[in-house]
Structure formats: C-alpha cells, structure tokens
C-alpha cells in the first residue's frame, strides 16, 4: 500500500431537488486495497459511486486519480481512466448477447468490423474464471438475475485498469459464487488495483475488506482499517446508535408447525420450469426455500402465485380446490408476492411512494372503490414508519429512493393487503443491517399473527433463523425438506451437496 | 373480348367515386373485363399497378395519373410490351408516342370559365374575391387558380383578397371560410367566393349562413366540378355557378380503344371533354336528379 492514494475525493457534494444526498464527503482509495463502503439504505453510497464515475455531475468537490485532478463527464470517461464499475441495479442489456455485453464499446475488430468469433471465444475464457459455463452468444435475457450479475462483474473487472467499484454485487449470489468473486477480487488487489466494495453483509466485509468507510445521511462518519474494528462498532457507526437485536436468533416456534394447513399443492409442476412437487403450508408457518442459482426457486414462486400456469397438479386453500390462473386470482385468495427483480417486477417508478404502497390493495378492491386519500396517506405513513423507509415525503416518486428503500416499499405494498400467504423472493436483498433485522422481526411477528410465509433466500444463515421448514431445490426439482431441529445451515448445505456434490464443495 | 387495367388515383372525393363507377359501368356495358387498382393517392402505387398490369399481360391500360411527371419509364415499358395506354382526366409530361390518347378536360380552362362567369356577373362593380384552393401542390389547384386569375386579369374591379387551401374538403372549406369572414369585416367586404371544387363551396356556404349572410346574393359562390350537392344549393339560391368536369372519361376512352383494337385507327392525341357552365338558370333540380345516381 503506497502513501499516495490511488483515488481521492474531497468534499464531494451532490443534491437532488434541494435534498443533499452527499454533503462534503471525503473518500480515499489506495492501490492494492479493498475498501468497503458502508451505510444504511439511502446513506448515499450509490450516489457517491455515481459521482466518482461520472454518471452524475457533482455539485462540488474534487476528485483525483493518481494525484491528478480528474473530471469524468460520463461513464465512458471513467472507463477510459481505468475505472470499472458495477452499479447497484444489474445494469446490463438483456437484449444483447452475453459476449456483446462483456465487450460493449471495446469489441475486438478485424478489418474494422466486429469479430464476433473472437469476442465469443474471449468471453468464454473470461466467464470460465467465474465458473460460468454458459454460451456467450446467447441473449443475456435468457439467464437469471444472478448470472447477469456475474456477467456485469466480469465486465467491470475486465474494464478496470486501476479501480474496480462493485455496488452490492453479491446481493443475489450464493455462497459458492461469492467465494469465486472474492478470489478474483483478491487477485486483482494483489495486482495493485484499488477496489471499492459496497455490501450489506458484514461477514463479507470482514472477510475481504482492508478498510471501511461509513456514510450516514449523506455525510462521512469515518474511515477505519478493518483490523481495529469490532462488528458492533461498525454497526453503531452506521446507525448512529446501538443495535441490540441485531443477532436475535429465534428457535422455530412449535405453534407454527402445529398450525392447520392453509394451502396445499399436490403434484404441482410445469414442464421446463419446475418438476411436479408436493407442498403444504400451515398457518403461521415460515417455509424457507434454499438452492443454488437457477435451481428453480423463483420459478416455484411464480407457479404458486399464478404467474405461470401449471401443467400438472392441484392446489387447495383451506381444503377447497383453487385455481391460480393469474396473480389477480391469487391475490383475491389472499396471496402476496415480493418479486426478486424489484426494478422490473416490483416498483412502478414514476408513481409516488404512497401510490406504490397502496397499489396492490387498491387493485384488489377494484377501480370503482377508490381508497379515500386520507386512508391512503395513513397506510403509507404507517409503513414508512414501520419499515423505516427513508424518504423526504410520501409523495416522492419511488424512483428517487435508494435501492434498499424501494425494496421496503414493495414489502409494504404487500403487507398493506394483509395477506394470508406471502411469498418473499430474496426479501433482504440490498437491505441494510438495521432494516434487515427489522424485516426478520417483522417476518416473525407476521407468523405469530397467523400469516404464512414462503421465503426464498440465498443467505442460509438468515433462512435457518426464521424458517420452520426449509425446502431444498436443485435443478428445478424439490429434492429435500428439512424441518424442526434439522433446519441448520450445514444440513441445508448437505442436502444441496447430496444432489450436486461438485457445486457444494466450492 | 378485352381485358383492361384501370389505375385509379384513389377515392378522395365524390367526383372520383363517380368516375370509378362510370368506368366500371361502361366496361360492363361493352363486355370489357376491367381490372381495377386503387392507388391510394400515391404515384408509386400507380406505377406499381401499371407494371403489374404489364406483367399480367392485359390488353390495354387506363391511367388516371395523380401527377403529370414521372411516367416516361413505365409508359415506355408498356409500349415495349405493346399495350396501349389511355390517360384519363389529366395528361402527363411525356412524349406523346408513349400513350394512345388522353381523355381529359382542360383544368386551366375550367378556372377560366369560372372566372369569366364572375367577371360577367359583377360587371363594373368593385368585387373582392376570396379563394378556396385545392390541396397545395396538386395540379387542379394550380391550374384552376391559374385559369381563374387569367380570366380576371384586366378587370381591376375584381381582385382576389384572400386565398387559402381548403384541401378540397367540406370541413376545411367551412373552417377556412369562417376565418375569411372574420378577417374581412364579418364578410361584409367579400363579394364573391371562388372554390376549386364544389365540396369546399358547400362547406363554405354553411359558414356564410352561420355568419348571418346570404350565400348566393350577399356573397356570390362559384365553383368547379358540378357534383349533385351543388345543384341543390343552386336550387336554393345559395350557389351561383359551377363548371362541370364530367366523370364520364371512360366512355370516349373505350370508344377510342375499341376502334384502335378493331382496325388500328389512331385516335387524336387529346380528346377534350366539355367544361360546361351551369348557373341557377339551368334548372338545377333537374340536373340534380340526373346526377344523383351516378355514384357521386
């Protein structure tokens, strides 16, 4: 680590519509370090990244790279300076092929024309380092969010001559993928790159980071070397207060298991999506769903919520036959579904926070029975407070909220419908520790009130904390179900491994 | 018997519909197999149609060209294929050996007849004329304007004070007339209206009435085409004169074609149809009854 910082930013200021998202923030990055950037949802992490890489123009402050002032006007400028970035939302182009995404703007050329063959060959080599054996000439759209995220990382890594910035790159990656990513990050660090890493997973911070910088409400709280930092200190830096419940563990409650069956799916499946499975969910029960990438978790949820139609099997609710021909029908029966891809399937970005929160409730009531404005406001305020959604006011278009806060808005949308059966696909993706604990507590409270939950999550630690039972999926098949005392991280890992030893070994 | 391809411009007005109807009728009467192609107002479609007729091997082609220019090539192809072409209602800017004959009226002459009528009607009185032009750039609009201006030139008492396009439609005719009336002192300064077709005149007549003036007397109305509705207006005293453009262009065309096919008689290069002037004196109701069922 040299003394001269690789990248340094001084007194960066940026405001949106009069609201200060960054207030004289300083930030330094040395060559050969992994620097974690932490903070609650809406603290200004993504904004800082965007300012540094020219995606936003800053209102004030100064940026230096290798001691020379730089002023990237757009992302292209930053790329040319050797700064590669993965922005928070997976920002690739699903309509291009994987290879085209990797090489957009710097395609290998022969005789002035793009050399597709060379491009595909090199893509295959690059992706192999990430353990991804996919066909680079296939459209990116044909792959899951996780795969897209890996491709985005691979692109940024390949672009970064000096600095690599990763904004929540691991949100939908599983343990094995994260390991692969960290190996690559370490080797880049050893080659002398500076790496900025944003995450909400503390484990990852302590595993990989050399220093951390914490932001709170757009202001710099401090930068510390990781060695001298305790977990609990970090949390209080972020929150500005102590978090007692953060580690709250819960023994799966007995009442959940004993509750009467609420929904039952028998031999439910769809060819090419998920093989037929049986699933019963009792009142007040949390069923966790674990599995590797592309194991069919999301697709299971889509079947259960009526987005996809099954070609075999039956569903019952309270012992009565049930057809789930559309999400609308599922909702009418008291179902809810927080999708994994919040940008595409979740938020309605031009509408306000209030409208986003009441959307599902209003849709269920029908257009002819509008919720009175006062009631809408009351509902919105209630959830803004309950979930600690950071927004200047409830009429702000939801697109101006930070990623994690958008996630909470969608959760609020479903809670507002007071569902009997709620499906959460990666509910804690991109959510900060405080909110994370909040959401887990909320999940527990909801089941205590008799709501049934199906939670899909890549974080096994989290999953085993609140699940009464855990379904394990692999290769689009339900391969195991663990319940009661058997719900432990290692048991889940083993179940996955039993099916696919190679992947679990990683 | 004969197969004849007919490339019609489109169906943009009642007059055009009548021409189509009459052509079909005439063909039927003579036992001619008529292939009809509507070009939707586009020259390129007409060229395509003529080419397709050639490819099909028809015996003759009737062409009502949407515009005068741009026919040399395709007419050349027809000539190569030895298919005679007869032009209907408008001529083309092409060497006249490329077509058999043209059956048309003289658009400039029509405007001239209308202008002449107005000049005679007003005598020495000062007369401010407003003009409703056809679609900007179309040949009837250009020629009918030219003919009218020729007729009134030299008569300093008659002058055009306002001229706008009414796109040959009733709606626009009415809308434009409304603004003419406002711009010219509520219509009190307007002595006559000249419309490039009857449809616009019919629309304008309504505008004049709604402005509280009497069309036909407060404001003279002269237009061109002689479609049935204008005769009704004339019968009511709301229109003064119209110049007929006969929709029966096909009759003379088929006559010429049949003679040519029978013994090779070359018809004259230009068969001009009459541009007859109708006024209120010509028993408009009777003409209306005659014309009513011609497919206008």
């Amino acid at each position: 680590m040299s003394d001269e910082p690789l990248l340094s930013a001084r007194a960066i200021t940026k405001s949106f519509l009069g609201m200060k998202a960054l207030d004289r923030v300083d930030f330094t990055l040395h060559a050969g370090e992994v620097h974690a950037l932490l903070g609650e949802n809406g603290a200004g992490k993504s904004t800082l990244i965007k300012v540094l890489t020219g995606a936003y123009r800053r209102d004030g402050g100064e940026i230096r790279l290798d001691g020379r002032p730089i002023d990237p006007k757009d992302v292209t400028d930053a790329q040319e300076l050797g700064i590669g970035t993965v922005y928070q939302e997976v920002n690739l182009l699903p309509n291009l092929t994987v290879a085209e995404n990797l090489f957009l703007g710097r395609e290998p050329r022969r005789f002035g024309l793009v050399d597709a063959r060379a491009m595909n060959r090199r893509s295959r080599e690059i992706l192999r380092e990430y353990g991804l054996g996919i066909d680079p000439s296939a459209l990116l759209a044909s792959f899951s969010v996780a795969v897209r995220q890996i491709v985005a990382i691979a692109r940024a890594v390949d672009l970064s001559g000096k600095v690599l910035i990763l904004d929540e790159p691991t949100a939908s990656l599983d343990a094995a993928e994260v390991d692969t990513l960290f190996e690559i990050v370490r080797s880049l660090r050893d080659r002398g790159l500076g790496i900025v890493f944003i995450t909400h997973f503390f484990d990852q911070v302590f595993r990989i980071a050399d220093r951390v910088t914490v932001l709170r409400n757009g202001q710099l709280v401090g930068t510390r070397p990781i060695d001298a930092l305790k977990r609990i200190d970090l949390v209080s830096m972020m929150l500005g207060r102590e978090l007692s419940e953060e580690e709250s563990h819960r023994a799966p409650s007995a009442e959940g298991e004993g509750g009467a069956p609420l929904v039952r799916f028998t031999n439910y499946g769809k060819r090419g999506h998920v093989e037929p499975f049986d699933l019963t969910i009792r009142r007040g029960e949390v069923v966790g769903v674990a599995g590797l990438l592309g194991s069919g978790r999301t697709e299971t949820a889509e079947l259960l919520f009526g987005i996809e139609q099954p070609d075999s099997g039956t569903a019952e609710l309270d012992g009565e036959k049930l057809t789930l021909a559309s999400p609308r029908q599922a909702i009418a029966h008291g179902f809810g579904f927080c999708p994994e891809d919040r940008k595409l399937d979740g938020i309605v970005d031009d509408l306000s926070v209030r409208e986003n929160i009441v959307l599902a409730l209003q849709a269920r009531q029908g257009w002819a029975k509008p919720l009175p404005r006062a009631e809408q406001e009351a509902i919105a305020d209630r959830y803004i407070q309950a979930l600690d959604i950071r927004t200047t006011d409830r009429e702000k278009p939801v697109k101006f909220l930070s990623g994690g806060n958008q996630q909470k808005v969608i959760l609020a949308r479903w809670l507002a419908t007071n569902p009997r059966f709620l499906i959460l696909d990666e509910p804690t993706r991109g959510i900060d520790v405080g909110a994370h604990a909040e959401i887990i507590r909320l999940i527990e409270k909801l089941c205590a009130e008799g709501m049934s939950l199906l939670v899909i999550s890549s974080e096994l630690e989290e999953l085993v904390v609140y699940s009464n039972r855990v379904l394990v999926l692999s290769d689009r098949r339900h391969i195991a179900e663990l319940s009661g005392e058997a719900v432990t991280t290692s048991a889940v890992m083993k179940a996955i491994a039993a099916h696919d030893p190679e992947e679990a070994a990683a | 018997d004969m197969t004849v391809g007919f490339s019609q411009i489109g169906s943009e007005s009642g007059w055009r519909a009548a021409e189509t109807t009459l052509t079909k009728q005439q063909a039927e009467e003579r036992g001619i197999d008529l292939k009809f192609a509507d070009a939707q107002q586009k020259q390129e479609n007409q060229i395509k149609a003529v080419r397709s007729f050639i490819a099909q091997g028809v015996d003759a082609i009737l062409l009502a060209p949407v515009v005068a220019t741009g026919w040399d090539q395709v007419l050349g192809e027809a000539k190569d294929a030895e298919i005679p072409v007869v032009l209907l209602d408008r001529t083309v800017d092409a060497p006249d050996d490329l077509y058999l004959t043209a059956v048309t009226s003289d658009l400039v002459h029509e405007g001239n007849v209308a202008g002449q009528w107005l000049v005679d009607a007003v005598g020495d009185k000062q007369c401010n004329v407003v003009e409703l032009q056809g679609t900007t750039g179309s040949s009837p609009a250009i020629d009918r304007k030219k003919g009218f201006e020729e007729a009134i030139s030299g008569h300093d008492n008659v002058k055009i004070v306002r001229s706008q396009t009414g796109d040959f439609t009733r709606t626009k005719g009415k809308e434009v007339m409304e603004s003419f009336l406002k711009a010219e002192n509520g219509g009190k300064d307007i002595c006559a209206l000249y419309a490039h077709n009857d449809d616009m005149a019919v629309g304008a007549i309504q505008a004049i009435k709604e402005a509280g003036l009497k069309p036909g007397s407060d404001i003279l109305v002269v237009s061109i085409d002689a479609v049935p509705d204008i005769f009704q207006a004339m019968a009511n005293g709301e229109a003064n004169a119209t110049v007929e453009l006969t929709p029966n262009m096909a009759g003379p065309a088929f006559d010429a074609l049949e003679k040519y096919k029978a013994d090779g008689t070359m018809p004259p290069k230009w068969i001009q149809t009459e541009s007859k002037l109708y006024t209120q004196k010509d028993d408009p109701m009777k003409v209306y009854e005659e014309k009513k069922n011609l497919g206008y």
Binding site: P327, I331, G366 | S11, T165
Partner: protein, 343 residues
C-alpha cells in the same frame, strides 16, 4: 380538493403560458381576434372558432391521453371518426331515429376501440401497429358504408350536434368540455387514473400487484373509440354529411401532438387530460392564426413546424433547467440529463 388542484395548475403553467402567447400572437395578426358578438343567437368570433374548430382534436385527445398513459398509442382515431360519421349518416338517412343513430354510431366507435384493445391486450401486438391496421382498414370500412360519396343528411337533431348551440354556446364546444370534465371526474375520483398510470409505467409490476391490466387496456382503447365516435358525429353534423374520404384525416397526429404538448409523456405513466385539452387549443389557435394571417398556404407547414418546435423547446426539461439556472443564479438543483439516467 383545492389543495390538490393548485399544484395541478402549477404543473400546467408552461402549457397555459404557451397558449397565452399564441393567442396574443393571433390577436396581433388579427385585431378583432378576441371580439365576441352574438350572431343568430349564437356566439360568434375568432376565439369561438378556436374553441369550436378545436373540438374534434380535443375530443380525440381525451381518449388519446388515456391510451398514451398506458404506454400505447392510437393511430386509428381518424379512421374511427370516418366510420362513426358514416354510420350516423347511413342510419339517419335510412330512417332510424336519432336515438338509435347516436347509439349505433357511438357503439361502433366503442367496438372499434375494443378491437384495438383486443389486439393490444390479448394478442400483445404493439399498439402502433395494432392501431395502424384499423387506420388503414377503417377508412375503407367507412367508404364501404358511404360507397365513397359524401352521404348528406338533413335531420335537424343530428345537425344540431355540429352547428347547434345552447345558450349561444356551439354544441361542439359544450360536448368537448363536458366529455372532458366527465372523463376527468371518472378517472380521478375512482382509482382508474392511478391504475392506468401504474400500468403505463410498469405493466409487468402492475400485473404482479394484481392490477387488471387487460381490463384497463380494453377500457382505454374503448374510451378512445368512444371519443373518436363523438368527434366523428360532430364532424359529420358540422358539414351535414359523412365524408368518409376526408373526415378525421391525419387528425390522429394532431391528437397525439396535443397530448404531448399537454405534458403527458409518450412513454406512459402520469397523464393530464386538462393538459391535453389545452394542447388541443394551442394547436387550433395555431391553425386559426395561420388562416387569419393571410399568408399563402405554402407556408402553413413551416409555420406549424416552427411553432411546435418552439413550444416543445420551451417545455423541454432541459430548457426549464436552463431557465431555472438563469433566474436563480448558481443553484443548480439537479442535472437534468443525468436525472433521466436513473429514472
């Protein structure tokens, strides 16, 4: 209600300013522009003409706004006008009563809208193309009904819708104002407005939230068909005949223009019907102004293009930023282009 109305009006400020400027220009060209007198018991004057002649575009713009709010577009409205006008003329001349005639014509308009809705919502054909089909075929259908001629009629009640008046106010003006008010009322007092905006902003997310997207799409296209139906009847009644060839020709473009000038984005989502109505009046003022100006018709298109460009430039987010920049020196609130990058 008033608290919410005021910011709404503030949002329409650019449109209102544009309208005021254009009207002022008209008055400069034609001194008597604002004079209103009573002629035959009917209000009479250039400004009345603007309101009256703007009726078809205003009516079309009402439906078009809803369609555009769902991220759609309806190119068929001009043709639907021709069809409904033809149906009305055909029915009234063959002796059906005025009530049946109106019901028939409006019913056909709604039917056309439902057809478009089916193509868009059920067959998932892209709106531009789905409605292009009816745009092409519809005029043919109208001509089929009238057999290519102008089908004239003399029924006084039907004519009343075009050139009649109540308390001196011409019927077309009353109709577009009333229909506009009605639609605004329905859309804003029910949840329709919000649901339409949701569908237009993110159709998939709305579907997943249980919004009946299919129903909404059918409704907006049907509404557009209905509005086109009313416009078609007015257009026919105005000239006492159904001109299948020319009724509503190219008016779809004017209607879309009105919606955009009115501040509704072609990308769907937030919409303002009042804005669109103002937009329609802006367009008509330009048209009437051109007619009053006495310029030769060759200039019409250039003038229109220039005015559109000026209006849009003034309204565009970038220049609003620039203006804010110059008025409130050195306080650049946001970076417009980059803002879009995250939206």
């Amino acid at each position: 209600m008033t608290q919410r109305l005021l910011p709404g009006l503030a949002r329409l400020a650019p449109q209102l300013v544009a309208l005021a400027v254009i009207l002022a220009l008209c008055a400069a060209i034609s001194p008597g522009f604002f004079d209103v007198s009573v002629q035959n018991g009917r209000l009479y004057g250039s400004i009345i003409d603007v309101l009256n002649r703007g009726a078809p575009v205003a009516l079309l713009a009402i439906g078009m706004t809803l369609v555009i709010a769902t991220k759609g577009i309806d190119l068929s409205v001009g043709a639907v006008m021709a069809i409904t006008g033809a149906v009305a003329a055909a029915m009234i001349t063959s002796g059906y009563g005025i009530v049946l005639t109106l019901a028939g014509a409006l019913g056909v308009g709604v039917l056309c809208g439902l057809w478009n809705g089916a193509l868009v919502a059920v067959l998932a054909i892209q709106p531009i193309i789905a409605t292009l089909i009816l745009m092409v075929a519809g005029r043919g259908i109208a001509q089929l009904i009238t057999e290519g001629v102008i089908l004239t009629f003399n029924d006084p009640t039907l004519i009343f819708f075009g050139s009649g008046h109540i308390f001196g106010v011409p019927m077309p003006i009353l109709l577009w104002i009333m229909l506009g008010a009605l639609v605004v009322l329905v859309v804003r007092t029910s949840a329709l407005g919000m649901l339409i905006e949701a569908v237009g902003t993110n159709r998939r997310a709305s579907m997943l939230a249980g919004v009946g997207t299919t129903f909404l799409l059918f409704s907006v296209y049907a509404a557009s068909g209905l509005c086109a139906g009313v416009a078609g009847i007015i257009a026919a009644a105005d000239i006492r005949g159904a001109d299948a060839n020319n009724a509503g020709l190219w008016l779809e473009l004017d209607a879309i223009l009105a919606v955009v000038i009115g501040g509704t984005s072609l990308l769907g989502g937030r919409f303002s019907i009042i804005g669109s109505l103002i937009g329609a009046m802006i367009i008509q003022s330009v048209n009437t102004g051109i007619l009053l100006s006495g310029f030769p018709p060759e200039f019409n298109l250039i003038i229109k293009a220039a005015i559109i460009v000026v209006i849009l430039v003034v309204q565009s987010p970038s220049s609003r930023e620039a203006m804010a920049f110059f008025t409130r020196k050195r306080e650049p609130a946001t970076e417009p282009r980059k803002e879009r990058a995250v939206s």
